[in-house]
Symmetry: C2
Subunit: 135 residues, 2 copies
DNA sequence: CTTGACCTTCCAGTTTACTGGAAGGTGTAT
DNA sequence: ATACACCTTCCAGTAAACTGGAAGGTCAAG
């Protein structure tokens, strides 16, 4: 069954840190292309497929929806001709990513400021920890 | 009905760029505290409430789940004593935000690289835009 | 030649985060 | 007084992204 260096769905799932069910689901919605099968119908994945899956996983963790990820992948998939349309799209994506980074920086700053303000208050009056709702 | 400078749900929704329904939903799941009512039962919101709502809106756009936002708000809500527990939590949040920023930078870099690679290819061979699947 | 860990499809259920609609009360404007 | 845009609760439905389970085929090992 060793079909070159292709992986079955379980191994692909392990490498991309996804559930096999999720991979089938991604295929169903066309996020990943049908990848080839063994004669007995088992899906086969190569390194490219696994890295695509891993990319999806990672982008998701960054808060992108599958629809957004689909768009980004589509950009990556446009062979080799960038034409203006694609260039504009990529620049838009980059722009929105930059915005996102800026807002995360802001959020980070607000948390750090919060902590600093507290630390000052603490320095002024030593006190005990009040109740904390279960995190 | 002008109850000081309090707003009805519709106006609060407009200012926080949310649907009134969504605000009621947030109250239902305890993301925002019950905010006071008119004698006739209309919810009232002050600037603090609106900014909390706007914060939720923004954090969501950054890809945080309501569960994560709940945690962040809880940190903000811990009156004035930071105690180690809360400090650790804030530092964890800041850490995960930094990670997220780093990964976004990476994603941005990979898109920029993609574009550059294309531009080089384009320079080498002038060509027409091939088909593009509907974005 | 059977056990066990894979794989397949299909279909239904879950979680998260809303969103819509009905039925009815409120408040100001004409 | 009646229209109109608000507001209320309650309950049901939706979309996105899985996730579980049944029923059954496949393959290497013992």
């Amino acid at each position: 069954m060793t079909d070159g260096q292709k992986l079955l769905i379980g191994e692909a799932a392990r490498r991309a840190d996804l559930n096999p069910k999720t991979i089938r689901f991604y295929e169903e919605i066309g996020l990943i292309a049908p990848t080839g099968r063994t004669t007995s119908g088992y899906r086969l994945f190569d390194e490219e497929g696994v890295s695509r899956l891993a990319f999806i996983r990672k982008a998701q963790a960054l808060g992108f929806t599958l629809a957004e990820i689909r768009e980004i992948l589509a950009l990556r998939d446009v062979g080799s001709m960038p034409c203006d349309h694609v260039e504009v799209k990529i620049n838009q994506k980059v722009g929105s990513i930059e915005e996102r980074i800026a807002e995360l920086e802001q959020l980070k700053a607000s948390l750090t400021t919060l902590l600093e303000r507290w630390k000052e208050a603490e320095a002024a009056s030593a006190a005990v920890c009040p109740q904390i709702e279960g995190a």
